[in-house]
């Protein structure tokens, strides 16, 4: 017997199964077609329908039924073209006639695996709950026994160090005429140390980001350094950097990243003899908080001409980096030798540090690095970090929160008296709820020397639509409606790099004020309050106990 499914659409999904339902208002729509033209997923389309309409006309109006052919905007239930809730349709609609609405009852994860392909996406962990960082409060307020500082008028020094720091006992010093002097004859290696702003822009590659977005960030960073005197630095992500930048004096504000695919490094190595400045540092990526244990992934949609040139690969192919550095088989190999090789490439003048994903084994890595005199720092990327492309299952369920990971690493360093020798960089979910300054300050007080941000700056500088309700999150498909994570000129030309740069500067200037507004009432101004754990508290007893901070209620 023929199944009835064809007639009653039984194997099709309904819009109620999808994460976003498009609310379209017939009465407001003027049928201009902008929404359907702009929809990155082609989730909505113009449709012609026959409608029964009641009309009352004539001298003595009397309702009459008539059939009319009319156009309308319809949401598809094809899961390949699901509405991502980005709201670009709303943005372009002249009459406020259309808007996607989150559907909390959706069953998206039950169905988004057609063809046996698990759901892949970009963005961040879909967990809208506040993170631990958002549950920390600054409770050591200077009151009367010590005067609070004035955030507006006092001098503040919000800086940190990136690089291996020698303990004072090992500094090659000698006494000359009652003064200390550096002992040049000692032969002691003094590792390079950079003084930077403690909130860095984390690794986002050209490739993951569009040319306009990357250029905007780079211009913003450069302006902050050159004009505002704020030494903000930015990591390249895997995939190389433009030759023009590598050969410029501005490279000192950037941290080229080498990862397991080594994409872009042929070009960097060839450029080395022509570089007139050293980069700020080199980051070796071993892991990423959003998809720990998984390699980088730039999907074929995004490997267009520019990317293929910078990375030295053919166009239109998937670029998966392996989960580990394939040529190395142990921590001694993959960490010690790589750090040493990269240090050597720049004559030991550039700090080289690894970035790992948050993990219970972070302390083991840390212990190894502490014994490696060339290791310049350890960057730990927590589970709330972002990515341009990953499997949903990795993003949502794999990983380790950053707060306790940083804290236990810091306390481990304290135990051995090494807390000032190997800076810890915290990343992953900083500013998740928009509280950038507060999250960063809390991490400093838990023991981080610096923090890295990614998603925050994408949202603040380029109004990225993404959120923890799985809004948008199609960075992997190259369909970014804002033009942030796409290589399609039609899309990335929407993004004005000058506007991005301006916003980066605005964000950092306001961040600086907010950090002062946190540090000033706590009486801290001249050094970053790294490890000042008496400054923070939480109303959650378990968190307080785990982080060894005060519990308040």
């Amino acid at each position: 017997m023929e199944p009835a499914s064809r007639l009653d659409h039984n194997h099709e999904l309904s819009v109620k199964d999808l994460p976003y339902i498009v609310r379209w208002r017939d009465d407001r729509c003027k049928r201009c077609g902008r929404c359907t033209a702009v929809c990155p997923m082609l989730s909505i389309e113009p449709t012609v329908v026959v409608k029964r309409v009641l009309q009352s006309e004539g001298v003595t109006p009397e309702p009459k039924a008539a059939r009319a052919v009319t156009t309308m905007v319809k949401q598809t239930t094809n899961i390949e073209r699901y509405c991502i809730g980005c709201g670009t349709c709303t943005l372009v609609c002249p009459n406020e006639a259309i808007e996607p609405e989150y559907n909390p009852q959706h069953k998206f994860n039950f169905h988004k695996n057609k063809g046996g392909h698990p759901y892949r996406r970009g963005g961040r962990r879909n967990d809208p709950n506040p993170s631990t960082l958002d549950r920390l409060r600054f409770t050591r307020i200077s009151m009367l026994t010590d005067p609070a500082l004035d955030a507006g008028r006092h001098e503040f020094r919000i800086r940190t160090y990136l690089g291996r720091i020698l303990p004072a006992e090992e500094l090659p010093l000698k006494m000359i005429d009652g003064k200390l002097a550096a002992d040049k004859t000692s032969g002691k290696f003094i590792p390079p140390v950079r003084e930077i702003y403690p909130v860095m822009i984390g690794s986002m590659s050209i490739g993951a980001l569009s040319p306009t977005m990357w250029e905007g960030l780079a211009m913003g960073i450069t302006y902050l350094n050159e004009v505002e005197g704020m030494p903000v630095v930015m990591c390249s992500g895997e995939g190389g950097m433009p030759q023009r930048l590598l050969k410029s004096r501005f490279i000192k504000y950037f941290i080229p990243q080498i990862a397991s695919g080594y994409f872009g490094w042929d070009e960097i190595v060839r450029t080395l003899p022509h570089m007139i400045e050293d980069p700020c540092a080199i980051e070796i990526k071993y892991g990423q908080g959003a998809k720990p244990g998984d390699g980088g992934l730039l999907m074929a949609h995004k490997v267009l001409k520019l990317i293929s040139e910078i990375r030295g690969v053919p166009m239109g192919v998937d670029l998966p980096s392996p989960p580990t550095h394939q040529t190395k088989y142990s921590i001694e190999e993959s960490v010690a030798k790589m750090i040493q090789s990269m240090s050597m490439a720049w004559g030991f003048r550039v700090p080289v540090y690894p970035k790992i994903s948050g993990t219970r084994t972070a302390k083991a890595v840390l212990n190894n690095l502490v014994r490696n005199q060339y290791a310049a720092a350890l960057s730990i990327d927590g589970e709330d970090g972002g990515t341009g492309a990953a499997y949903n299952v990795s993003m949502d369920t794999m990983g380790h929160p950053i707060a306790s990971n940083i804290r236990e690493c810091y306390l481990d360093l304290v135990k051995y008296g090494k807390q000032n020798e190997l800076p810890l960089i915290a990343a992953g979910g900083i500013g998740k709820k928009g509280n950038l300054a507060a999250n960063a300050a809390a991490l400093f007080m838990l023991g981080a020397s610096a923090v890295s941000i990614g998603k925050y700056i994408m949202q603040a500088a380029a109004a990225c639509y993404g959120d923890e309700m799985n809004r948008c999150n199609v960075c992997n498909l190259g369909k970014c409606p804002r033009g942030i994570t796409t290589q399609d000129p039609k899309l990335y030309r929407r993004l004005d790099p000058d506007v991005v740069a301006e916003r980066v500067v605005e964000v950092y200037k306001s961040l600086d004020v907010e950090l002062k507004k946190i540090f000033a009432p706590m009486g801290r101004s001249m050094e970053l309050p790294i490890g000042m754990s008496d400054g923070i508290s939480t109303d959650d007893h378990a968190i307080a106990e785990r982080l060894q901070i005060n519990y308040v209620c």
Partner: protein
Amino acid sequence: MCRLAAITSFEYFSPIENIMALETMKEGHDGSGMGLILKRLGGEFEDLKDYPILSGICSKDGMKTLDDYMNKLGFKLKYTWTPKIRTVRGITGRDHYFARVYDYPDVYKDRAWGDKEDLLLKTRLALRKFGEGDESIIVFSFYPDILTLKEVGDPLQLAEFFGLDKSPLKAKIIFAQGRQNTNYAINMYACHPFFIQGYGSMTNGENTAFVPIREFLMSRNFPGYIGYNSDSEVFCHILHYTCKQLAYPLTYYKDVITPLKQSEIDKRTDSEVARLLKISLRPLCIDGPNCVIAFTPDGTCLMVQDAKKLRPGIVGGMKGKYGFMSEECGLDSVIPERDKSQDVFPMKYDMVIVKPDAQEVMVWNQLHG
């Protein structure tokens, strides 16, 4: 905010001078305690300068424990000084206040000074531990030519209680602090001045960077860096760490606790060193508000301020006698005849130094190095 009164002099003088200075600054302390350290002792201690003096307070039981332990180690009691206690309303006396002079154990007689210093420190820490639970033994210092006296109460009343007004006890350097208690439970170990291996300091103000500094010091693997019942104890230990452990000249203490900006460092002749120290000793940067008055083993006295200069402090006097005070009125009480126009109010870059015998006051400016 506590009030501080330190005097360094060519001639011996009585601690009552410091206490009278504290009295003039009375509105700044609440009578919750006083600490005294006397250095370059005169009177009955003048001929005992080579022998360590154990200063502290004991209960009857504690004294027995102390005696047993000191005997066991082989220390021989040479001389005991005890204050002539008088009953004063509001002061609760304890069983034994003492400064006991010991001779070293025989096996240490010919040992190097460093070994002896270590022994004194370990002994003091052991005694402190014995008395920690029940306060049966409280020891403040165990070092040659250093006498420490502390108790809860108003400084003037305590002077009467200890009979200091009539005592022949004299010294050339005396540090005194009148406490403004900000810790509700008054712990004797939280009372300034603090002392460790020849270095002493007292401070007014709160130390907002206390926790990272404490963690850094405690992880230096040096047994004396413990306690921290007061957030100001770290100033003394940073001085000890800088000048004794790292053997840096005294002025680098200022560079450690209040490092300069890079643009300022660049102008120093020792800029490379100043930069290295700033980075390597980053956790020891204080953020104030603090005025630190300290002395070193040779009897040099100094005053420094935090980088915001948020606490008062004045140094003044005349050849042969200088005072380091929280307030000018304290100095007026001790050395009224001085030329006030020569008074120094140290600012953020200054370290005011007076060498032993108090011949002149020197102001070292951090910007010039």
